[in-house]
């Protein structure tokens, strides 16, 4: 029992292990902490690899309208999209997103990529065509 009293006495006079949130500031996040996803629409090429790799289906990319959308309530912050992005448009920030009562959806509108120009059909010269009518 003496041991427990010692522990209690140390806790009573020692530094508090907890903090009075929200009155006191929260603990500084570690550099590697996965807080939230930050998107840079300037470098995005709307390739939609991130949406395909997302395990929680939190990302939607629409190439036709140029929309990139993150549903923060679905996002599990696994970092799969950050690793997958070929242009490094998605980065991980260690700042946490706080609780919210309304649904948080981040939408970015970009210029939709131009549809690829259809190739002109190569004209076939009639001279090179095989004439089977004269073949014997």
């Amino acid at each position: 029992m003496a041991k427990m009293s010692e522990l209690i006495a140390r806790n009573f006079f020692g530094k508090k292990p907890t903090r009075l949130f929200p009155a006191a500031p929260e603990r500084i996040a570690f550099d590697r902490s996965r807080g939230r996803i930050v998107f840079n629409e300037k470098t995005c090429i709307l390739c939609s690899i991130c949406a395909r790799r997302c395990p929680a289906n939190a990302l939607t990319v629409d190439r036709a309208t140029g929309k990139w959308e993150l549903d923060a309530f679905r996002c599990i912050i696994c970092g799969e999209c950050v690793a997958a992005c070929p242009k490094k448009s998605i980065t991980m920030s260690n700042e946490r997103r706080h609780g919210s009562e309304t649904k948080v959806v981040e939408t970015f509108m970009m210029e939709p990529p131009k549809p690829p120009v259809p190739k002109k059909p190569i004209p076939v010269k009639p001279v090179e065509a095989l004439d089977i009518s004269t073949e014997k």
């Binding site: 522990l7 806790n11 292990p17 590697r32 902490s33 996965r34 912050i77 696994c78 970092g79």
Partner: protein, 358 residues
């Protein structure tokens, strides 16, 4: 004497998880216990047929919040053995370090819950204070406290820096010092002894008959630890399986306390031997074949059966978690005990119901 049926759970102050036991009581004695599970079934195994096999890592991590790293480790080891991937040595060591940190936090959590079960609130707070340090190590090295998402097929996603190694070694030596103080309370305190010694005895022959797993088997004198088979980097580390003979709640507590020291030692050994090199190898193609992957979790042995058919989705994923194997032994221990011992008895098997139901 008339018999009464008392429902214990699914919402009970002592149980963090929805396990229901219908206790058939005669006065103050338990005559029979009837379990009812199925309150948190989520159908995660079925998701394997819908998700990409790489995305499934994040799903299997959510099978259990406590041993999340080891669930993903069992899964990726299974996929790697199907695809014949040899992962770098450094990745194996990193996996072992994270697995042991996971075991530490699970055992600290359990010690706190046990103290809470017999009403020792201050000991519960004290134990969880130390667990917080271990979770900080997890967040520092992987980016998240519990669901760490550090495993990938072919290696691991994060590497240690020199600062991380220093912080881990410092935390390990701190925890060892502090653990000695908490240990004396658990092992020598009169109150704790009164509530645990001779309660819920499971003899060695009964333990074999009920095929118990993990710390419960080791507390009943069965030398059984899958880490001895030398999977992952455990083959390079020195350790001995911890065995106690009594088979009561006290022995189960002692086994877990000694395993905390063992984990601290394993982390230290692994950090010292940590080789340099890559942490991940590129993976191409889809798995085809079937495999059974097993590993030792904090609660016992987990079995993963994976069947893949060469497409991006798996054909079948079956998970056998340790609690599933330990519930029959709990039903053996409960009859004959007093009502006030039921929370302690239920906790000594360390039930994880969300694991069991998936």
């Amino acid at each position: 004497m008339a018999r009464t049926v008392i429902p214990f759970g699914p919402q009970h102050p002592v149980l963090p998880e929805p396990l229901q036991l219908k206790l058939v009581m005669e006065d103050d004695k338990v005559i029979e216990a009837l379990p009812a599970i199925g309150y948190v079934h989520r159908g995660l195994e079925k998701l394997a047929e819908l998700k990409d096999f790489n995305q499934m890592i994040y799903v299997v991590e959510r099978v259990c919040g406590i041993c999340s790293f080891m669930h993903s480790m069992a899964y990726v080891r299974g996929i790697e053995s199907i695809m014949g991937i040899q992962i770098p040595d450094r990745a194996e060591y990193l996996r072992v370090i994270w697995a042991e940190i996971g075991r530490l936090q699970s055992h600290f959590l359990w010690l706190g819950l046990l103290a809470d079960a017999f009403g020792f609130e201050s000991l519960f707070m004290e134990t969880w204070k130390y667990r917080e340090k271990i979770l900080d190590l997890m967040e520092m090295t992987t980016g998240n406290r519990v669901i760490v998402s550090a495993n990938k097929v072919g290696g691991v996603a994060h590497d240690f820096t020199d600062e991380h190694v220093k912080a881990i070694l410092l935390a390990v030596s701190d925890l060892e010092k502090e653990m000695h103080q908490v240990e004396t309370v658990f092992v020598q305190n009169y109150t704790v002894k009164q509530r645990t010694i001779g309660v819920g005895v499971l003899t060695r022959s009964e333990a074999i008959e009920y095929s118990v797993l993990g710390p419960i088997a080791r507390a009943s004198g069965i030398k059984m630890d899958l880490r001895e088979t030398g999977y992952s980097a455990y083959k390079y580390l020195n350790f001995e399986t911890i065995v106690e003979k009594e088979g009561d709640c006290y022995a189960r507590t002692v086994v877990r306390i000694r395993e905390i020291y063992q984990s601290l030692d394993l982390i230290r050994q692994a950090v010292e031997k940590l080789p340099t090199g890559d942490i991940i190898v590129p993976v191409k193609g889809f798995p085809k074949g079937e495999v059974i992957s097993r590993l030792e979790q904090p609660r016992g042995e987990a079995i993963y059966y994976i069947s893949a058919n060469g497409t991006k989705n798996l054909q079948r994923l079956k998970i056998r978690t340790p609690t599933f194997g330990n519930i029959p032994a709990l039903l053996k221990m409960l009859p004959g005990s007093n009502l006030q011992d039921v929370p302690v008895l239920v906790l000594t098997i360390d039930p994880c119901i969300s694991c069991t139901e998936r």
